[in-house]
């Protein structure tokens, strides 16, 4: 009943000397730090895959509005079903995350950092506060950090309150400001108009940790791993029907089949990649690569074994989205409820092919017309399950 360690492979984070990334950054100009992060082509580890160097460059160039400051925000609202690698990073490598945030602050000229921690992880809070306190005492936060005159930066924690949508960066900022977590229109983007209207960088927990490795070992090292468009290592949260679920570090570009072998998931019927908002990949496509250019993921890998009922899987995802849609825009609010109704009809064996086609057309509308990534991606699992498992889901009888 007590949680066990989820780590299944060594992490590169363990072999990087503490504070070596920050030390390197303090000896570099702002432009050079951003140049290095840009050159390694590190892309956002939360799943969206936006180039971190580009984001930092935009925030560095943006002007602070009167009387304010720039912000560095760490998105620790890890809510995607099947993702738990940020929990492990924050438990075991919190220093590295804060070090990465401090490098970010130096790069864009921010003085305030905020770690937005999901309320489900409230038990991590005392540990994180302790690490922050130690960093303050060690002059790694506060005034003239590391002896660099004029470089001031501090980090505080802000607890989420239970809303998946707050993983979307503008919803997260709304929540930080004390509002409902309803995503904003973009543009303007947070790099220009973020928290309190000021330039704000929002990056995932894992992204900040990789920044430290890049500064410590150089962009060239990071680029030598992975594929051309998806450089570096990535942490994967593996769960479901496999012998060794847990958190693994693999280079991006690994195929689904290779990954299944490493985690003891051979013989799987399908793998859900990218969590509830991701895609369901059938066994016939296990040769595909996990990378931004093929199967993109924030790290969630859910293995579905031979006996699994794909409609039950689709239903669980749709129930999740009906619960977690913020309700702001109609395609998402109404669409997800319609899709859940459709899955229930399929389970009862009462869905005509015509109605199924209508549901798929609705999915397209949701993907095109929803305001944020939640609604745009919520039909993905349904669409891929219908596409690959039509045989299994049509014409059901009660025997199922």
């Amino acid at each position: 009943m007590t949680p066990v360690n989820s780590k299944k492979t060594p992490f590169t984070f363990e072999s990087v000397e503490p504070e070596s990334g920050l030390r390197a950054a303090l000896g570099m100009s702002r432009a050079d730090i951003i140049g290095e992060v840009g050159a390694c082509n590190l892309r956002g580890r939360g799943g969206a895959g936006f180039p971190t160097g580009t984001k930092w460059n935009l925030a560095a160039a943006a002007k602070v509005k009167a009387g304010g400051t720039k912000y560095v925000v760490c998105n620790a609202d890890e809510g995607e079903p099947g993702t738990f690698k940020d929990r492990v990073i924050l438990s075991d490598h919190a220093d590295m995350v804060f070090e990465g945030m401090t490098i970010g602050a130096r790069a864009i000229g921010a003085t305030v950092g905020i770690l937005y921690l999901r309320s489900e992880y409230v038990y991590l809070r005392p540990h994180l506060e302790q690490v922050l306190e130690r960093r303050r005492a060690g002059n790694l936060l506060g005034q003239d950090i590391g002896g660099l005159a004029g470089f001031s930066f501090d980090i505080h924690l802000h607890m989420g309150a239970g809303a998946y949508v707050c993983g979307e960066e503008t919803a997260l900022i709304e929540s930080l400001e004390g509002h409902r977590g309803e995503p904003r229109n973009r543009p303007p983007f947070p790099v220009d108009t973020g928290f309190e209207g000021q330039p704000t960088v929002v990056n995932n927990v894992e992204t900040f940790a990789w920044v430290v490795c890049v500064l410590s070992r150089g962009a060239h090292w990071f680029k030598s791993i992975g594929t051309e468009k998806s450089t570096g290592y990535k942490l994967f949260s593996v769960s479901g029907d496999c012998r060794e679920p847990g958190v693994y570090e693999f280079p991006l570009g690994i195929t689904v089949g290779e990954l299944l072998e490493k985690v003891g998931g051979q013989g799987a019927k399908a793998v859900q990649i990218g969590g509830a908002s991701g895609h369901c990949v059938p066994a016939s496509e296990f040769g595909r690569r996990i990378a931004f250019e093929d199967l993109s993921t924030g790290g969630s890998i859910i293995v579905l074994g031979p006996g699994r009922d794909m409609l039950a899987v689709a239903r669980n995802f749709m129930e999740f989205f009906v619960e977690e849609s913020c309700g702001q825009c109609t395609p998402c609010r109404a669409g997800n409820a319609k899709l859940l109704g459709g899955v229930e009809m399929l389970q009862r064996g009462e869905c005509s092919m015509n109605y199924l086609q209508e549901l798929l057309a609705l999915c397209e509308t949701m993907q095109l017309a929803s305001k944020c990534g939640l609604g745009q991606s919520s039909p993905n699992a349904f669409v891929s399950i219908v596409k690959h498992f039509k045989d299994e889901i049509m014409g059901r009888t009660l025997a199922h």
Binding site: E120, G160, A163, G178, V238, E324
Partner: protein, 170 residues
């Protein structure tokens, strides 16, 4: 609500507003701490918070009703949140759910008559490799089986009383 209780609530809210500041961004931390101390966020409390932060009470209601971990109705001293998401489903959450209902004597979304236990579903708790996962206040249990349920409830009962306030979070 008795005048004494109202007064105490007002005092608590004022102290929280002092601590977190009068900015709008203080709203959620104030509501969270308020709920920790009082288990719920009542209509009266929302009105006081609104007055203190100089915003409309509808704004406070809007925020309170939006977030799953803020609530207007008490879920009791011990809030049981069973992860309902896919990986926990694959590892057998349905039977744990049934046993929780049996042993607590309530359905999901309800609170026991003595105000001790509440039961709800949670979206992914981030324990997907060791499901089914159950969050009780701020303590997480993993690999929960139907047989474990009784022991977990007993553990709560044994901390109720002298140490109960410590155990109350979120």
């Amino acid at each position: 609500m008795l005048v004494g209780q109202q007064q105490r609530l007002q005092d608590d809210i004022r102290a929280l507003v002092e601590r977190f500041g009068r900015k709008r961004s203080a709203l959620i931390p104030v509501l969270q701490e308020l709920q920790n101390a009082h288990t719920t966020i009542s209509d009266f409390a929302m009105q006081v918070v609104a007055d203190e932060l100089s915003i409309h009470p509808a704004e406070v209601y809007g925020v309170t009703s939006f977030y799953a971990f803020l609530r207007q109705e008490s879920r009791g001293r011990f809030v049981f949140r069973l992860c309902g998401t896919i990986s926990c489903e694959l590892s057998g959450k349905s039977r744990v759910a049934r046993q929780l209902e049996n042993d607590l004597g309530i359905r999901f979304g309800e609170t026991t008559a003595d105000g001790r236990f509440g039961l709800e579903w949670a979206s992914c708790l981030g324990m997907c490799d060791q499901g089914p996962a159950l969050l009780v206040n701020d303590r997480v249990y993993t690999g929960v089986t139907p047989e474990h349920v009784h022991a977990i409830i007993d553990e709560c009962k044994s901390t109720f009383g002298a140490h109960a306030r410590e155990a109350v979070h979120s």
